[in-house]
């Protein structure tokens, strides 16, 4: 890129457009750019002409001219107004396209810390943002040509997820989930888009089991987050094929002989939970978890512990995590009606809160299992039915 190129709009001023939504953004950028160039040249040229033509000199004095003209004033008020309307409209439609992820996205959870990123994949792989001797697997890996949604959450302060090549940015707000989506192609490293690619961007990742060809895009944090703000960057790796991505993640996800997070969860369940919580059946002393597996992804009605009102929740990671850690916050109505089990009897006598002594939060179990372990257990609960279906 040269400075000369930079005069001609998005091609020279913006990084390569390597997502499906980038082209539309660039088009609007160019549209605005050329109107701005037009008005800037108009204003400066008129100003320069007047400066020369009406410069103060002997024999020249100010000539009478009207001090106001309603018609002209209205014209130069109305014309910019008209020009602005389509810019707003296209900006808005483009924004909606950037905000609303398509339904079939490959979802990756991105957690922001001070000052690192953590990328959690559907396979259970859990990668950091930088390569270190201890962590040879790192970065945000995505399949080519597929809609990818990143679910953003923050550990404690604001961050922002920004990939310039995709024209994607969203703040990561503590206490909330935000998201961004993109669909990036895999581009051959010999193609012209790679002309100005940063030299340190890897084009291939070598691991002990294989070589992966990738496009590496810079990922930045753009919301100030403290000392390490400027070092909180990473790479987005677009693999050449989805198979290679899965292979890479499988390598990265090597959980000491386990294939998936769900298997890790099964192990944890057997050690920590199975003595009380069964999948189904009578005679249990604590809630069964089979219903969760049965209804995974569906809406059920629960009593909200805060308001004592029935509310609808979707059975999923959030609900299960919350129920494990704060059993009283959302009570599944069906559990009350499990006639005959010791658990339900206790419930009906109003004794369930006393069971909190036995529950998860604040107990030793919490110390062992931790956040990542909980995720494994959740994955296990989710997977139970799928395994049986097979």
């Amino acid at each position: 890129m040269s400075l000369w190129d930079a005069l001609f709009g998005s091609e020279g001023q913006l990084p390569p457009k390597l997502s499906t939504t980038a082209a539309e953004v660039d088009w609007l950028y160019d549209y605005i750019y050329w109107w701005c160039v037009f008005f800037f040249i108009l204003i400066v040229a008129v100003m320069a002409y007047f400066m020369w033509r009406y410069r103060r000199r002997p024999g020249h004095s100010a000539q009478p001219s009207p001090s106001h003209h309603l018609g002209i004033e209205l014209i130069w008020s109305v014309i910019p107004t008209i020009l602005i309307i389509p810019i707003f409209y296209w900006g808005f439609t483009g924004f909606v396209a950037l905000q609303q992820a398509p339904a079939d996205c490959y979802k990756i959870e991105v957690e922001a810390y001070q000052w690192s990123w953590k990328f959690r994949y559907p396979t259970g792989a859990n990668l950091g943002n930088k390569e270190t001797p201890d962590a040879p697997y790192f970065g945000l890996h995505v399949p080519p040509g597929r809609n990818v949604q990143v679910i953003l959450s923050s550990d404690n302060v604001l961050h922002s997820f920004y990939v310039p090549n995709f024209r994607v940015k969203n703040d990561v707000v503590p206490g909330r989930y935000t998201s961004a989506w993109f669909n990036a192609p895999y581009v051959d490293p010999d193609s012209p888009e790679f002309e100005n690619w940063p030299p340190e961007a890897p084009t291939r990742l070598e691991t002990k089991n294989g070589i992966y060809k990738v496009n590496a895009h810079r990922l930045f944090c753009t919301e100030y987050c403290g000392t390490g703000h400027s070092t909180m960057d990473s790479w987005v790796f677009v693999h050449e094929s989805e198979e290679k991505l899965q292979q890479y993640l499988k390598e990265a996800n090597d959980l000491w002989g386990k294939e998936t997070l769900a298997e890790v969860g099964a192990e944890l369940y057997a050690k920590n939970c199975a003595s009380c919580h069964l999948k189904a059946g009578q005679g249990v002393v604590a809630p069964i978890f089979g219903r969760l597996s049965d209804n995974w992804g569906k809406e059920i009605t629960v009593i909200d512990g805060a308001s004592n009102q029935p509310v609808k929740v979707t059975v999923g990671r959030d609900y299960v995590l919350q129920s494990i850690q704060d059993p009283g916050s959302q009570l599944a109505l069906k559990d009350y009606n499990d006639q005959g089990t010791p658990w339900a009897n206790n419930m009906q006598q109003g004794l369930y809160p006393t069971l909190e002594a036995e529950s998860y939060k604040g107990t030793e179990k919490q110390q062992f299992v931790g956040k990542n372990g909980l995720d494994a257990i959740v994955a296990f609960i989710e997977s139970v039915n799928k395994q049986e279906d097979k």
Partner: protein, 300 residues
């Protein structure tokens, strides 16, 4: 442009850049109203925070406001309204040049300010004793919260169900009927609102009710209860600060009045301090129903 108005500049209270006292008085009032508008917008932030969090957590506001004593709030409303009246009377007396009546009215207004703060202090004290205060910030050295969930919230137990069982037996000792009602394990009637496909409307779900149809549980599990108290303390605290500033201003005009500074022609400071004091009253008029009257017990 000015010195030909001899009578204007004869008055030592008329500053040199004004032509007439009328001009000066109107400018003073105009400036005061501009200042009052900044006060309104200062409180706008607090009202905004109030509205947002009440919109987000209506149940928290409904429950937590029961801890406030509406009778004390109403008493304070009466005190402030009365002091506003005495302030208006004070301004009237100053306009009429009745120096002793002005002093009397200003002293009465000061008594109102003092009474208000005393009642406020009683209320605050009660809250601190029961720990119904804001959550407190994490101590950077020990990692504990200044008002830790375990200690300060044990009486009310809104946000922390784990401690509910331990906290529940304590509440009778504190003897606050409002708290007791909030924590009551036996008397809260079931709201026959449970709907959905699982429970028939109007029928208590079997697991939620004991035989006598009363709710059996420990405490209502309200997260974020502390936000109400955070907002309560910030709103009433900022307002209380304005009461104190107003009282200081009243003392200032009282001294000037005793010194004999004011005449029927020049009593602008009394008027301006009066305006400020009425604004303090005006804000309380909104704070009272918004904080105290959210969820009163109906007539028995």
């Amino acid at each position: 442009m000015s010195d030909d108005h001899g009578h204007g500049h004869g008055d030592p209270n008329l500053a040199h850049h004004w032509d007439t006292m009328d001009q000066q008085v109107h400018a003073g009032k105009f400036g005061m109203w501009l200042f009052l508008s900044t006060e309104v917008l200062l409180f706008a932030g607090l009202f905004c925070a109030y509205c947002v969090y009440r919109g987000l957590h209506p149940e928290v506001f409904a429950e937590a406001s029961k801890v406030l004593n509406w009778k004390l709030g109403a008493l304070n409303t009466v005190i402030l309204l009365a002091s506003s009246f005495t302030m208006a009377m004070g301004v009237r007396a100053a306009q009429l040049g009745n120096k002793s009546q002005t002093s009397l009215m200003l002293v009465l207004t000061l008594c109102g300010a003092g009474g208000f703060m005393v009642v406020k202090a009683i209320e605050y004290n009660e809250k601190f004793e029961h720990g119904t205060v804001w959550i407190g910030h994490k101590n950077s050295i020990t990692g504990d919260y200044n008002y830790s969930p375990q200690d300060k919230f044990k009486d009310v137990e809104y946000a922390y169900p784990a401690e509910a069982a331990e906290a529940a037996p304590d509440e009778s000792e504190h003897g606050d009927p409002k708290l007791a009602a909030l924590l009551d394990t036996t008397v809260t009637p079931i709201e026959p609102k449970l709907g959905g496909g699982i429970v028939q409307p109007g029928v208590a779900p079997s697991g939620l009710a004991s035989d006598d149809g009363k709710r059996v549980t420990t405490a209502p599990k309200l997260q974020n209860m502390h936000i109400f108290f955070g907002i309560y303390f910030v709103m009433t605290g900022t307002h209380g600060l304005h009461v104190i500033i107003g009282a200081i201003a009243i003392i200032w005009v009282l001294i000037r009045n005793i010194r004999g500074d004011f005449t029927p022609k020049y009593n602008l400071p009394v008027d301006l301090v009066g305006l400020y004091w009425h604004l303090v009253d005006l804000i309380w008029i909104f704070l009272f129903p918004l904080l105290y009257l959210i969820n009163l017990d109906p007539w028995n």
